[in-house]
Symmetry: C2
DNA sequence: CTGAAAGCGCTAACAC
DNA sequence: GTGTTAGCGCTTTCAG
């Protein structure tokens, strides 16, 4: 290799400058460079200076792959969420990201799209990076996923749901309680002919729990659900709008409708507004999540505000707090808007 | 160590079963296990079976750290976004995640909160994991960040903006063109006393470009911006609402207002509705982004729809397409709603 | 305070 | 087809 080739090689080497290169340039051993860089163990001011200079001129970026392999212990935290199309998850991520950041960890995210098999694959893939911990959504996993999580030897946080058995740390709120509270509110306000409009919840266990509990509560109180429309797609404004249209076409006499979440409810409100249906006079509407928009609108939606960002924060903190396995129910807040 | 201790150790070892353990149990060499697992090179059915069984009974999860270090080449892709509080970024991530997924890569995300220093730190941190490629938002970086990106030796995609010089791959749309188009539309519709309500754009270069171009265009057409209100916080419905209130208090005679984005514009609409200001009769309102809600509302907002999810997809694809450095302008779509 | 040596768990030639 | 031998780039004892 000519010296020209070498120059080219080192120029384009970029990220592949190694600790050996730094050591050579600084005229010290690799272990010394390592110590200086991690500020572990003592070192003389002179050596530190030389190492720092070498790092600078070489543009050395430590290879954490190698570092982690050698020392065992990465700062990666896997975060497996169900979707990015539902504000709840970005909100959750925001909390996670903030807390992880403060603790020096970095999130690696994966999106399951509510698919159990994808969750399984994702968890396996994350585990392969030997993350420091893992955050997954919900308590319902495939047996293999559960087995992997249990056997991973790292702390696991399951979030956004507390209705069920957790593996280690669980942070969330009760979707069942939310469903029940919604039913009770509608009844208390005197509504008697109640319907439900939902998205496809066959894979969204949390929405399913809300619906089941809502139904059960109504039945228990002697005023069972009159009718329901389940849209085959995931939740969206559009789907809420169309869902309500369908439901009302078949049951024009309903006096209240519970939606699977705020996006759906918003669609419902839009339908009513453009069809001259008075709210809550002609029809009461209730949602779930407490999106900013539904709370700030001129006619605020009656809904339940969930502390999802806080859930992310708390989960991320608990992961590294060294405490025992525990379930933290952060609760939720009923927003008595103007639509019920 | 007693056999009991060993059992305990291996039981809790969980993720730390190594390829050596598998090799031993299967009665083959480590390289054979490696080959079987990666389906590279030939192997007899018998051996494959034994290896698979061993993997299963041991619950072996390959360590990608080691794998990557040995083979050079991870499947991680760093994604640096500005925020999670603005729908644009989750939407972008959705596209990225979909495309990456299809290609067998995994996103590692970092959030800068519009802070250049945090961006610098994040880029360094991501580079330390030797990602296969990197996606960053915008074209405006600190000199050190730019240097790192250039010297990383991997493909870089800069997204959501095409107004400026890119490093490698650039996918987005022109914020300047959007600002200009908005100004021209308002003028064409006969508005003459135009104001602007924005969030703090000192770190949000894309919003800044829209505003500057909007202003410049108005001035060029001889009808300069009458007044503007800049809220000190990041964009939100609340801040748009309060911003418009302030602006109108000082300039009640405005006939149109351009907002820094749809969230802000929504807040403006809410203010108008609760103060009896007719839209677009008394005041025209224009936003930017084309959120679902603004398009589906009974009175759809006049705005510009940006293809952010597609941007994410295209960027992720181009990263691994092996093509040359290029800039892809995906354009945007003017949504002529009912508020102008 | 600093250096030498031995791995971390895996892949990649190269033999056999 | 399968095993052997070297590392990948770093951290970590353990000497000195």
């Amino acid at each position: 290799m000519t010296s020209d080739q070498m120059r080219i090689r080192s120029a384009r080497a970029g990220a592949s400058v190694t600790i050996t290169d730094v050591a050579q340039l600084a005229g010290v051993s690799e272990s010394t460079v390592s110590r200086v860089l991690r500020e572990k163990g003592a070192s003389s001011e002179k050596v530190r200076r030389r190492v720092r200079d070498a790092v600078e001129t070489l543009g050395y970026v430590p290879n954490r792959l190698a570092g982690t392999l050698a020392s065992a212990g990465s700062n990666l935290v896997g975060v497996v969420i169900a979707s990015l199309g539902n504000v709840v998850f970005p909100d959750l991520l925001r909390g996670v990201s903030t807390a992880l950041d403060a603790a020096g960890y970095q999130p690696v995210i994966g999106v399951t799209d509510y698919d159990v098999d994808r969750e399984e694959k994702l968890v396996a893939a994350m585990l392969a990076w030997r993350p420091a911990a893992l955050i997954v959504t919900g308590l319902d996993h495939s047996p293999r996923t559960s087995a992997m999580l249990r056997g991973a030897g790292i702390r696991i946080a399951e979030v956004l749901d507390v209705d069920g058995e957790g593996i280690d740390i669980v942070v969330g709120y009760s979707n069942r309680a939310a469903g029940e509270m919604s039913a009770m509110l509608l009844l208390r306000r005197g509504h008697r002919r109640i319907g439900y409009v939902g998205h496809d919840v066959s894979h969204d266990h949390r929405a399913e729990k809300r619906r089941d509990s809502f139904r059960t509560t109504l039945a228990r109180e002697g005023l069972p659900l009159v009718a329901e429309t389940i849209m085959p797609s995931s939740s969206s404004i559009e789907s809420g709008r169309d869902g309500l249209a369908l439901l009302l076409a078949a049951h024009p006499d309903l006096d209240a409708v519970y939606f699977s979440n705020d996006d759906m409810a918003l669609g419902g409100l839009f339908h009513c507004r453009s069809h001259g249906i008075g709210i809550p006079g002609d029809l009461a509407v209730m949602g779930y999540n407490g999106l900013d928009i539904t709370r700030l609108a001129p006619q605020p939606l009656t809904t339940i505000l969930t502390p999802r960002t806080r859930v992310g924060e708390v989960a991320a903190q608990l992961l590294f707090a060294g405490g025992p396995a525990e379930t933290v129910d952060l609760g939720f807040e009923l927003i008595e808007g103007a639509t019920v």
